[in-house]
Each structure stands twice: as structure tokens, then as C-alpha cells.
Symmetry: C2
Subunit: 205 residues, 2 copies
Amino acid sequence: MTDRTGLRERKKAATQAALSAATFRLAIAKEGLGNVTAEEIAAEAGVSTRTFHNYFASKEAALLHDFNETTNALLADLRERAATQPIWDAIRDAAIAMHLDEKFDLETMRCREQLIHNSPSLIKEQSGQFMELFSEAIGIVAEATGAATTDLYPRLVLGSALVCIKTTTEHWLADPGDRTLPEAIAEGFAVLERGITQPPSLPGN
Amino acid sequence: MTDRTGLRERKKAATQAALSAATFRLAIAKEGLGNVTAEEIAAEAGVSTRTFHNYFASKEAALLHDFNETTNALLADLRERAATQPIWDAIRDAAIAMHLDEKFDLETMRCREQLIHNSPSLIKEQSGQFMELFSEAIGIVAEATGAATTDLYPRLVLGSALVCIKTTTEHWLADPGDRTLPEAIAEGFAVLERGITQPPSLPGN
DNA sequence: AGAAATTTTGCAGCAGGCGCAAATTTTCCT
DNA sequence: AGGAAAATTTGCGCCTGCTGCAAAATTTCT
């Protein structure tokens, strides 16, 4: 039922995943996505160059494919929660429920981070995807709350929340300490709830 | 003294501005930067295609040139303020002091916004520049407060502040009401100071 | 004016990305 | 099973972006 078109959909998802994985593998092997060509990726995945571009508009998009899937899941979850919770709580809980640390192992996530961090084009692509996430989320929020998509407050809320997720995750990745990722994210949200001017413990000045 | 190398520096700045302006003009005329080639831009500015690429790595960068200058000014201002004010206040006041609405006229800013909004590549470029702004600002903050560049709190602060600036500006641009841009920005910052969960007046659910 | 430094330009080349139509594969229907 | 219909893969050509390199033109300095 969910795979009415079964095999076909499955195969497409498979090659897409294969291409994404190949991209990641090569990028790490060659120390930078910039040193990898679309042709190489296609070869590694066993398809033609043209096919690679049928699936992904760019190498960058290919590398960030699972990031994209993650955000889609987040959106779906948010859509549900927004129906019954206040925005802020919905976003926070959806973010906490992501549990990225159970989906990917630490080492992989760190490699990804490094790869992105050293590549301007990847930074741009990722930021771009964040903006898209923002747009779609705004749509959800607007629909759920009846607010206009142009209202300031929901945009501030959503923006802060996304920054919080990204920032906190990066920080946790660099030094997990003894917390899980969801715990770390929860702490980040707590800071924003309290009012940003109230530093947590060791203030920066 | 400031123009020791005088004429030369001046001319370079002039052609750069000319290229940027030409890009803007053409992008508007052709309803999208995507419909403009680097060759056309160069021609419009009266230089060779190669020269265009000497100044800008991409069409996108050319179009966002003055945005970039603005953020550089912001950084310079922030650097000064960070020496004597708490981070949050320094950022807020620097943002307020930008006074973009006195540097550009409303119509121009709106065109820019539209152009960016309808172009994925421009969104990416702009987000990328925001990330750069973030990195440099983090450096300033770290130096001023003695915090590590990896600390969570300053990153949260800075991130929220940047989101606030961008969001509030966009919102003001769409509907200035009877406020000036600095006033609008100040309101945005106030929301974050109060704690994001406290909506201003008309809560979104 | 003439030498030195710098900028502009053309050229060649690689790579990204897209439209199109032919070839191949998968699904569907009888 | 078998063949028609639908969708995917592929190759090809094309345009554009962007970079390195070396020659030509321009500016600065003495």
C-alpha cells in the first residue's frame, strides 16, 4: 500500500542513497568534495554521469542528501505536533525527538561536519537548505496557528529555534561530554526560553 | 593617507561598484539573475568578461556586494563596541546603528529582496555570507570576552541576534508601518531579551 | 621620459548542469 | 506468458561558470 509502485520507488531510493554514499566516501577519500567530480561519483555508484544529475542538482546536494531526509522527518513530526502544542513547544519537542545520535554514529557526523566546514560551496548549500526548511516550517506554523506567513513573531521563533538546533548540535558534536544530543538541544532551548541575556553558568563577560 | 595608493585603489573600487550596479540593473531588467550572463554584465560595465571574474567569483557575489560592505561595517562597529559593552548589547546597538534605511531607498531594497527571494543560488550565496559574518563575529566576541570560540553561549547569542536582524529587517521591509528600521530591529531584540516564549502582543496560538 | 609595478585582457581548458531523443528497463493488462 | 504502455537510464551536444597563464595595456615612481 505504501509502496504501491513498489519495486520502482524502491530502486530509485536505492540508487539515490548509493549516489549519496558514494559522494561521501569519495569526498573523504580525496579530502574535500572539491577534489571529486560528478563523473567519479557516478562511476563509483555504477551509473552514468547523466543519471547522477537526474538525482541531484549538484555534488553538494548529493552529499547533504541525508541531512535533507532528516529535516523532512522533522517537518513531518512538527506538522503533527503543531496541531496540539504551542509553536515553541512543538518545535522544541520535535527537535529533541530527532535523536540524530541514534541515527548516525559520532565519527560519521564529525567527518560530515569537517567536510562541510572546509568547503564554501557546502556551507552555502547547507545554509540554503536551512532556508528552505525555514520556509516550509513557516507554512506549517501559519496553517496551524492561523497566523499570516508574514507575521514577525513566528518567524523570530522559528529562526531562533533553527539556530539553536544547528548551534547546539555542532557544539555537542565537538564535545559530547556526558550528555546525549537531545539533552544538549534541550539545554539550548532552555537558554532561549529564559531570555537570551541571561547566560547559563559561565557567562561570556 | 587613507588613499596613499590613491587613484589606483579608487579606480578598482569604482569598477567593482560599477560591476555590482550593472549586475543589479540587468537582473532587474531580465527578471532574475539567472537570465543574466557574466558576459552581459561585463559588457554593461565596459570591461572584459575575465575582468569581471577578477573582481567577483560569481554573479551572485557581485549582486550582493553592497550587502557585504554593510556587514563589514557592522563588524567594524561591533569590534569597537565589544570592547566596552556586554556582547548582547554590543550586537544590538551595532545592529541598530546600521540604519540601512538611510543608506538605501526602500524601493531598491525591496527589489533586492525580491531578486534574492526568487533565486535559489542567491539565497545560498546570502546565507553563505551570513555564515561568514557569523564566523568573524565569533572571533571578535571571543577576543573581547576571553571566551573560547567553541563555547555554546556566545554562539547562541550571536546566532539569535543575526536571525533577529535578518528577520526583522525583512518584516519591516514588507511593511514599515510607522516605524524606522532601527526601531523595528530594537523590537525584535526585545523579544529575545524577554524570552522567546513570551509573545509580544498577538501570540501565534 | 623611461623603468617598474600592476591591471586588463584573451585564450585554453575543465567541469557543472540541462534539454532532448534514443535505448533500455519495469510495470501493467489481457 | 506476452506484448503494449509507462518510466528510467543513457549518450550527446550545448552553454555557462570559473581558473591559470602569459601577453598587452595602463598606472606609478624616479
